[in-house]
Every structure is written in structure tokens, then in C-alpha cells.
């Protein structure tokens, strides 16, 4: 049986067909795999940041509201990262002996840049807007996870379209009690343009 197979393989047509089939199988596996990849692969991404900023301390223990620093979320598409000066608003007097705060202060004094590592990233053809979500009362934690418990910020939810659509089709679990919203837009232009 195996011998017959080798025999047949001498024919160049059969060879091409076999090779093509093998390539196709791999492609299909990769393709299907990509579109069905589980959430947990994207989760837990937690790069080392230039300053070991702890959300657990600031948002958890100190209970500073999210919008205090990420004030863009109500006014802009991007929630934004606070400027170094905003950090220095407190840290001019708070914990000035910490080497990290001294690093922060040095950046602020020199006018240099503080480059944080991006954790949540969307492809360039996705135009997510924080405003309608925040205004509808969706808690930041719905997508960003229990930030107030994270010493190092990490990704909680894969930001794939399936997750967006699941919530847009039935947003009620994410909305505060009494919200009148029952559905969010599902047309392409809601996010792609």
C-alpha cells in the first residue's frame, strides 16, 4: 500500500497536487485558528513600564477615580494618559524620596518624554470612542478588568470584534441599572471608517 503511494508520487502531477493539498491544509488551519483564537491568548499582556506605576495603589487603595487622570474618556475618543505634569501635581510633595518619582521629576524638569508601553492596542482600522461608553455608564472595568487590583497593568479582555459585538448586541449586563439602552450600533461604520 505504502509502496503504491511512493509509486504514484513519481508522477509530477500527483506531487504538485499533494504539495498543494498540504499547503492548503496548513493555510486553513492557520486561518481558522486565527479567527477562533481564544481570548486567553490576548489576555495577561503586562509589559514592564518605565515607571512601576501601581493602579492597585492609586485606583485601589487611594480610590482616585479613573477619570481624574484619564479625563479624556468623557471628552475625546481617547481616554488618554495623564501628562507628566499631572503626576507631579501630587508628586512634588508626595513620596519624593522614591527613585521612580525622582525619575519622573527629572523628566518633568528636563521637559523630556516619558514613553509608556502600550497595553491596549486596536488595529488602525478600528475607531473606538470612549465617550459613548462612559456616558452610557459602562464601567471602565467592563473592558479593562479589575484595574484597581492590578499592581502592574495588564490586558484583561481580548479586544477582538467578537467581544465588541457581543456587548453591542446585548449591552444590558454592562450597563447600570435603569439604563434605557437595549442595543448598541452594529453597522460597520460604527467602528470602521
Amino acid at each position: 500500500m505504502l509502496e503504491a503511494f511512493w509509486q504514484a508520487l513519481r508522477d509530477p502531477v500527483v506531487r504538485v497536487v499533494c504539495a498543494a493539498t498540504a499547503v492548503c491544509v496548513v493555510l486553513v488551519v492557520v486561518f481558522v485558528g486565527w479567527f477562533t483564537q481564544p481570548d486567553r491568548l490576548a489576555r495577561g499582556f503586562a509589559p514592564t513600564q518605565p515607571i512601576p506605576f501601581s493602579h492597585r495603589l492609586h485606583a485601589g487603595s487611594l480610590a482616585i477615580p479613573c477619570l481624574h487622570c484619564h479625563s479624556g474618556a468623557e471628552k475625546s475618543r481617547a481616554a488618554g494618559i495623564p501628562s507628566v505634569e499631572e503626576c507631579m501635581g501630587c508628586h512634588r510633595v508626595t513620596k519624593t524620596d522614591s527613585p521612580s518619582i525622582q525619575k519622573l521629576a527629572a523628566v518633568w524638569k528636563s521637559g523630556g518624554v516619558l514613553a509608556w508601553k502600550r497595553v491596549h492596542s486596536l488595529p488602525s482600522h478600528v475607531f473606538f470612542d470612549h465617550r459613548p461608553h462612559v456616558l452610557a455608564g459602562v464601567a471602565c472595568q467592563t473592558c479593562h478588568g479589575p484595574v484597581q487590583e492590578m499592581a502592574v497593568i495588564s490586558q484583561h479582555m481580548s479586544l477582538r470584534m467578537g467581544n465588541c459585538l457581543a456587548c453591542h448586541r446585548d449591552p444590558r449586563p454592562a450597563l447600570p441599572a435603569g439604563s434605557t439602552i437595549v442595543r448598541a450600533p452594529e453597522n460597520c461604520n460604527a467602528c470602521h471608517r
Binding site: 505634569e85 518624554v113 475607531f127 461604520n189
Partner: protein, 929 residues
Amino acid sequence: MSDPRFSRREFLGLIGSATFVAGCSKDRGEIVPFTKRPEGAKPGVADFYASTFQEGLCAYGVLVKTREGRPIHVQGNDRHPAFKSKTSPAAIADIMGLYDPDRLKHPLMDGHPADWSAVESKLVSSLKDQSVLLVTGALLSPARRALIMDLKKVLPGLRHVSWEPALGDGQTAALQDCYGSARRPRLRLERAKVIVALEADLLSGGRTEEIGGFASNRTERSMNRLYAFEGSVSLTGANADVRVAWRPSRAAALGFALARELHQAGVPWPSGVDSSSLSDFSLEGLDSGLLRALVGDLKKSRNQAVVVAGPSLPPQAHAAAFLLNAMLGAEGHTVDASSSVAEPLSGSDAVAQALREAQEGKFGAAIFWQVNPAYSFPDAKLWKAAVAAIPLKVRIGLHEDETAQDCELVLPEHHWLESWNDFETAEDLLSLQQPAVGSLYETKQAEDILLDILRGLGGGAPIDYRHYLMARWQREVQPSGSLVPFESFWSAALHDGVCQRKAEAKPPRRLNGSAVNRWAQVAAQSERPQWELLLSPSANLFDGRYANNGWLQELPDPVTKLSWGNAVSMSPTDASRLSLEDGQVVRLSASGREVELPVVVQPGQAPGVLSAALGYGRRTGSIAQGVGANLFPLWNAAPVAVKDAGRREVLAFMQRHHTLEGRDVVRSLAWPKGRLAPRKDLASLYEPRKFPKHKWVMAVDLSLCVGCQACVLACQSENNIPTVGKERVLKGREMHWMRVDRYYEGSPENPRILMQPMLCQQCDDAPCENVCPVAATNHSDEGLNEMAYNRCVGTRYCQNNCPYKVRRFNFFEYTAQTPASARLAFNPEVTVRPRGVMEKCTFCVQRIQEAKQAAKVRGRPLQDGDIEPACAAACPARAIVFGDLKDSTSRVSKLTRSERGYRVLEELGVKPSVTYLADLRNPPQADAS
């Protein structure tokens, strides 16, 4: 797999994603916040700065939209009283001038990079005690003028010539002679019922105010009547109710003959005009019925009429127009000189005179600022001789252009989006220019260079031009005795971009009758040459200053639809006599100079008239170089001879079919009685679509649209549309989401010309959607035909199935070919499309989304007018209206229900969302007397 943690599906997924993840870096880039956030700066939110854009004798108030500190779009300033939120196409496109990769990035001394201090110390030491020639463009700025006056105090040998090479000298000469002052009046076309244009293009793209005024009287309720007498075909002729192909050499005769006819119809002469000097003019070739109608219209409308002569005409034609306007009493009504200011502009003669003196060694140094005489001065020999005799030549400019190559010192200046200035186009109106971005390169504002010279030569000067400007404003602009602190006055003026002030009422100008008599005698003696060559600034490139702007090179000429080059237009009669056709190259020669360029056979062109656009044929600039032919050598040259050069050039027309073939794609009605044929309701096999909340639609009023193409550029800027170059335009692969189709109807000798903006019609039963194999284009519940780029696989079925031909395909990775600096102009709200992806007009969905969110943030529902797509915002005629059809009171709903409304190719049953309102024309009735 026995491992209970994995399902089969997950296993496959894991293998697939592992393959991908292995190849992908985990790094997702960086986020860099502001270190010190400027007050009011919100990442993701656009800021607008009021500023001013100057071109020639016009200063447009604009708003510059910036995102994260980068200017990305220019639109009109809504507080500007004349332009009213509209601006010129060049202002919109010149954002590319800011990001032009060819811009000079540091000073050059003898062709080598140098630093500013070395260059300026050399400059100051060489200028000291020298006689200096300073050639600039039109200044229009009181602060600039004051600065040059200050400079004269420390440099007594300074001679200043301000020169606009592409603007004719005829009007200035005639104004000086007939009114004793070169103050250019403002045309108030919104008050005009009858407009007579003699070779005057009142409706070309840059004439924003005139287009607005003209269009305000082109509705069912009130219609003006435009008579155009022209040799070439302009947008004015295309929109005229009566267009007569008329040779420009006879324009003056026509004007004076009309004045005589008007007098015979009972209108008195203005004082000092001698009727005997007007007896010789004949109106041969003009239909007598038309003449009767024209004279009747003028007589009836009186001060609601206006006669305008074009800048390319000689002074006698302007004098004739002045005479007619004086007889009609237009002064103070349709011709408003009450607050206009005189810009001391010298003609090319004055430049030639200065260059001749330079040749004799009269000048120790010369500074060329805003002008490029090595390209635009007609007499290249004189220029070469003059620069050889000037020891130090200085070029202050944006590029290392033709003139810079002849100069020892090349000083890069700021782009206008990086500069401070003020502009005065009327005594009662000042507009301010402020930087919308810090300087991108090691450049300086030109005025700061002059201030450095002033300081170096011992004059007192503030630390920079901004302070110079502010000091001048505090002294001269803020009303004396005002209780407002200057800082508040200044910041209010900067915020508004304009400052209106009281001007002393001037006595009306008086026409000097004897000057008119003299010009009439000149006109009576003028001959009719065999060929007349009309040269005008290009509708896109002006005098060549925008030649390195790809958007403007690719934007087709509004009439010929030729992109990437210029050509000489010739009448069909002449072309068939000389057996020439489109693309055949001819040699034009006059005064011993020759230019070779291809022919375009232009329906409607008067026989014997050749016309061509200036601004092409630049010798420098990576985009500008070698595109088209430079016609400045033939400026004011006569007589012109034409010879077949025996070769051909390929012309990149963006429209290849020019007639409607009897179909009613563009509908035109005779006002006031014309009506469209009643609409037939078409049966459809599809269920009607339901739109629960909004239904976005557009209305385009063809009666208002003049075809200036400002919309096309605004769309290009807003939607990150690439340019593709001549080669791909020839293959029909241009990327414009919006175009203006131009059709000829009737005889080629003088056809009717129709314009139609064409964009995605957002059909309810869109034929493109049905054929997409991957559902990349589908319908939203707000009536938009959406394009999901990330889904598109590039089959182009949709493009083939679109009856309007508005879908565009990215054959190449155009973004990769966009220089890094030009990518800064990208609108971050719109996806930059990669290769292999189809794209098309989205009705500016990013603006729809933004308006919705802004309304939500403010806690109020969307209102009519909240959303304005880029094309509608840019349209100087307000021909494009956008809105929600579900709101029955919205403007667009009313227009959609209009009796003039129709949909293009409606019979296909695709249910387009764009309603066109039929063009209205108001020709005189045949029996008018």
C-alpha cells in the same frame, strides 16, 4: 486530544494563533503623553486656529484644523464678513505646501548649508550703504509695508518693487488713469441682477466671494442673468446664461459700443465723456436680438447691473467697463470702492526697468521674496544679464527654486501656517495670520529676517515680528481711548481672525471722462491680430507657486479636465484648419521667444484665440519639474505665430467622454417656466429599507454649482486621498472620491456647458453591495453604503457594478509612497487605505460620528446643520446640502422634495440618496426688446 482543557476547536485555534504569535512581536508600541500639557490641548480633539491665507491680491480668512498639534485641514473662517466660512481651493490644498518634503530646511550660502548667524551677518555687512533692489509679491499687509518703510530709513538706497507676475497690468493702468487711484473695488455680485463679463473669470476657484454672491441669486425666487463674452472658455462662460465667443481684442470695442447703444436707449453720459469718440465701434458678429436684450436688461436693472473686464484685457477694455458702470450707476452698489485699499503693485514693466538698471550695475544687492523671477520673468536674457551684474543676490522663499539657484544666499522662510501677519483687503477689515504649528525646520519668518537686517544696520526693532505686529496694532488698530486692555483686544482679534473697524466714509470715486475718451480712441485704433494668446494664472497652480503640490497638479482643469500639465486651447475651427487634434504639439512664437506645448481642441473657444494656463513648466521641485510648459516667456508678447511641431504628447484627461448623448444625467431648466417631467414610481423587487433613526441624504443644487472643484480638494484633504500621478491618471486610476463632471451640449462652436459634482450616491439598493463576495460593502441602518476596508479583498466587482463610477481601487501602496512629512497631514479620523482595497465617498462618516458624540456629550439631540461633510463645508456656492431625511424640517428634506429635484440614473432602480436639483438658466426671451 484527551486533554480535557482543550476542545477540538480550541486546539485548532491554538495551533493557528501560535503560528501567528510566534511571528509577531509582543511589543505594541508606546504612548507618550505630554510632559506639560498646553492649556486646552486634548489628545483626540481637534483645535481650530483662525488665520489668513494670501494669494495675489486676495487674503482669505481661514480656520486651520489641527490634531495633536499638526494642521490637517483648512476651511473658511465663519467670522469673515466677505468669505463667510468659505475659502479658496488653493488655501485648502496648501496644507501640502507646509509638509512639502522639498521645502528648504536650512539656509544656503553659495549652495552649501550654512547657519543662520553666518548668513545673516554676511547679509547685513553686504547690504550696508548699498543700493538694494527688493522684489516682493503683493504685500497686502500694513505691518509688512511699515516694516519695509522702516527698512528704507536705515537703507536709503532700497528700491522696493511689488510684483505679481500672473496678474495683468491693464486694470491698474486703467484705474490710475480713470479714477486717479489704483484702489480695486469690491464686486458685490449678490446685489447684481445683470452681470456682463468681458473675458472676466468671476467664478474661478479663487473667487470665493464672487461665487457666493453670484450663487445667492441663482434660485427659483430670484435669478440674475450672466452674459459672458470671452475668447477662451472659463467657468464664467460655462455658467453664463448667454455666452458669446468673442475675441479679447474686440472686448473694448464691445464695451464702448454697448455704452453708445445704452446712451441711444436714453441713458445719459457721465460728465466729461464725449460721444463723438464712441461713434466708430461696430458690433459686427453680435446677434441683434441679443444686443437688444442686453441693452434692455442693462437699462432696466441700472445700478443692479455690473460690467466686469478681465485682468488679461488691456486698459481700454477696463475703461469701457468703468464707463458702462458709471452710466448704470453701479458705483456704490454692485461696484463698491467705498472701503477698498490700493495695493501699490508694479507691472512687469517696472520689474524690467529695475532689471535693466541692475544690468548697468546700479544695485549692490537684490532680495527676491515671494517671487520667482528666474521662472516668471518673461525675458530670460535680461534676467541673466541683470543677475550677473548684481554682486549679492538673496532669495527668501520656501524652496530652492529657479531664482534660488541664481542667488548666493538662500534663506528659507516659514510657511504661512507657521507665520504671524496681518492683512488689509479693505479699510474696515483687517485679518490676522497666526501660526497653527511651530516651525518644522530651521526656517525663519521672512519679516524676522528683515527685522534682523534692520537691527544689524542700526535701526531699533522689537525682538521679533510678532512683537512688531502687536506694537503696531496697539498703536494703530486698537481704537484710541479704548478701555479694553490691549492684551484682551489682541487675543479677541486672534481668536476671531478678523478685526472690523470703522473707516472714514470716502467720497465716491469720480470717473474722469476725458481719460475714458482717450482710451476710446486707443480702442478704436486697435487691430485684430491673426492669433491672440490669452495667458491666465492656472486655476490650480496660480503663477506656479503651487506647482510642487501633488493635489493641485492632479486636480483637473475645471473646463478642459486636463491634469498633470497645461495645453493651449484652440477652437475646433482653427484646429481642423491646421489639422491639429488633442495632444499634438505646437510651437508658439512671439518676440523671438518660443514655447512648445500640446493642443487641446476646446469647444466654445473663439476662432483665432489661443489660451493657456501659466504656472506650469517649472524647472525645480520633485513634483513640479517638467510638468507642462512655461508660458511666461510669451507674456504680453505679440504677434503670436503657431506652427505644428510635428510630435505628440499624451494628455492626462480625467474625463474622456464629453457629451450626454441625449441622456438626462444633468438636467437644465429655463427659468422661470421650466419644469421637470413628472417622476414615475418604479416597481422594485426589493423590500423597502427601513431606517429607524436617521437617513443621511444629500442635495446638490446644479443651479448653484459653478464647477470650481473646491469640494474635490476638501474631500482629498479630509479623507486622506492619495495622488497617483500622470501615468496612472492615464489608466483611469485616479483616486478622487468626488469629481465634477463637465458636459458639452450643442454645437462645438459654442456649446452649452454643464457641471455636475459626482460622488457615491449611497444607493438604498446599491448594486455594489449585491456583488461583493465578502460583504465588505453593505448598508447601514442610517442609509450609508459602508465600506469595511479590513474586509475588502479587492475583487473590484463593486467598481464594475457601480453605474456612477465613483468607486476607487488602490492599485498600489500609495501611503508607502507618501513622503513621511506629507503623512503628517493625514486625518487621524480616517483609515489610510492599503493596497488592494476599494474605497469611495463615505458622506464623511467620521464627521457624522463626531457630531453624534458631540451632541451626546452636550446632552442634546442632533440638529440640522450639526453635520457638514467636507465638500459641503468647502462649497463657496453652498450648492451641497447634507442632512437627515427623517427630519422633515431639515433643509435637505425640503430640497429633496423640491420640484427641481431628480436622481441621476434613477431608472436603474438603485434608489440613490443624492438628489440633484436641476440647473436653472435664465436666457433672455427671444422677444425681449
